[in-house]
């Protein structure tokens, strides 16, 4: 049978339809980006003015200045300490979560064992239990384990993460089982098969999960707020939140610091985004 070539890949649709689509995309994208513009404009205004007049999209050239930006890099107190803390925590959290969650997911995806369905249902149930409900007993728990005011308390409970395990498992179920057999024939251990043969295939899934976990970790607020006591351990969201008081030039640092805090996570997103939808598709919830 000869394959009929479809004249498809070109841009399709009537010109009117295309223009309509373009205009609606432009409007929705503008709505999504407007707050960033407002924030950028705000970084060139006095914090006191922001408190009094709020934020809008216009900028008055006669009052605009770069003092906030100068302050950020010369006199921002603990800001870059928070920044470094957040950076370290995010990197450790993302690497750890990707490793451990894919490790666990592999067990669920490739083997049959006793209690498998039961344990997997636990994963599903855990995905629907709000962390907020457990935060107080979990806080007591990490305190009794001697992890109060410690980064371990922020990291450990979330390394084997239900939603990430679920995602990797969905992705791996789609991989050919022959890889395992081939590995075993070659005398590779079960763990060697995972680390050496399977892991390289997980790239798109890893990229998608790196973005989602990176976002969650960089922006994590409630749990660190409960756990962390010493100001020198504060992360960016916690530190920024302490600036939400109208004293001194807090608001000036708040707005410029908020804007600057977007940069690392934006870079992470831009670096991995081309894998993102591909990865999400491969791990998508299948019927």
């Amino acid at each position: 049978m000869t394959k009929v070539k479809e004249p498809k890949e070109k841009v399709q649709g009537s010109p009117a339809g295309r223009i309509g689509l373009f205009v609606s995309f432009a409007i929705v994208a503008a709505l999504a980006l407007i707050p960033f513009w407002a924030m950028l404009v705000g970084t060139f205004q006095d914090g006191d003015m922001l408190i009094r007049y709020g934020l809008n999209l216009g900028i008055d050239p006669s009052t605009a200045h770069v003092h906030n930006w100068v302050m950020l890099f010369t006199d921002s107190g603990p800001y870059f300490r928070w920044f470094a803390n957040s950076l370290v925590l995010t990197v450790v959290q993302v690497v750890g979560t990707l490793l451990i969650s894919s490790f666990v997911a592999y067990g669920f995806a490739m083997y049959d064992f006793k209690f498998k369905s039961f344990l997997f249902i636990l994963v599903l149930v855990l995905m629907t239990i709000p962390f907020e409900m457990l935060m107080l007993p979990l806080y007591i728990q990490v305190n009794t384990m001697g992890m109060a005011d410690n980064y371990a308390a922020i990291l450990l409970p979330f390394l084997a993460q239900a939603s990430t395990i679920f995602f990797f498992r969905q992705f791996m179920v789609g991989l050919p089982k022959e890889i395992l057999e081939a590995g075993r024939v070659d005398g590779v251990s079960e763990f060697g098969i995972f680390f050496r043969l399977i892991m390289p295939l997980l790239k798109p899934a890893m990229a998608a999960m790196a973005i989602l976990n990176g976002m969650a970790s960089w922006n994590n607020f409630l749990w660190p707020l409960l756990v962390l006591r010493s100001p020198d351990k504060y992360t960016l969201p916690i530190g920024l939140n302490t600036l939400m008081t109208p004293y001194g030039n807090n608001y000036s640092l708040l707005i410029v610091g908020s804007f600057f805090s977007l940069i690392p996570i934006l870079l992470l997103f831009l670096a991995f985004q081309r894998f993102f939808v591909e990865g999400m598709t491969a791990g998508a919830v299948k019927g």
Partner: protein, 298 residues
Amino acid sequence: MKGLFYSQKAAPYLFILPFILTFGIFWAFPLGRSIVMSGQNILPGQTENVGFDNYTRLFHDRLFWLAMTNSLRYTLLTLVLLIPIPLVLAVLVNSKIGSPKIKGFFKSAMFIPALTSVVVAGIVFRLMFSESDTSLMNQIVSFFGFGPVKWLKNDLTGLAALLVVAMWRWTGVNMMYFLAGLQAIAPEFYEAARIDGASRWQQFRYVTLPQLRPTITYVLTISVYGGMAMFLESFMLYNGNNSPQNIGLTIVGYLYRQGVEKNDLGYASAVGVVLLVVILAINLTQLFFSGMFKKENR
């Protein structure tokens, strides 16, 4: 020891061990403790069992019901807004109309708000929803001929502000989920539908929607969770857990107030248990109806 690494019998248990440990230490145990604490009156140095007293108190607690109502209506409205709109956007992005480049830019632009922390989003929206007549939102309403609104001082405008923040941050994320689901649908389905003479709408109704059901179920589940557990958006928008007449109080906000601010752990645990039961009830019902568990058992 070496045999262990080669044993196909032992391997799966070692693989899932981190999950079992995490689950036991950080989830099951605290969950159990939470249920026990909900039956106790916990004071520094002394703890007494009070049976269901905390639950009775909860039942008669006006503020708890206010928080519950606030959370439920917020959840319901986020479902109404954050499922159909992202779904339509995803279908448009996935359609063959228009250039892929523009769509690529659109996808990124839509997702970027989700990268902001709730703290940053809260700061920006708090300032955009400021009472001053020069704030962005008041400029918009004045463009339509209305006077400045005290957004964060009234019940319904406060709710609107929360919904705007939620839509801003989550439309792109949900769109991505739907887009991933759409791209997993085999093109043969659409071809078959076209051969049968199905219109665009019929293709959407009879191919896209049924094929997308697992994704919709998933998004619904995480949205119910996100909506019922909403707290920080309100916390940031109102600069703390105290909003005027508690218009921004949610269940988790109430749990935080009782547990952290008033240190009444027993009562806060009861709030948590009720929250858990409500969320599990909603989500398990819809997971069962969608046949999710059956499929995972395979």
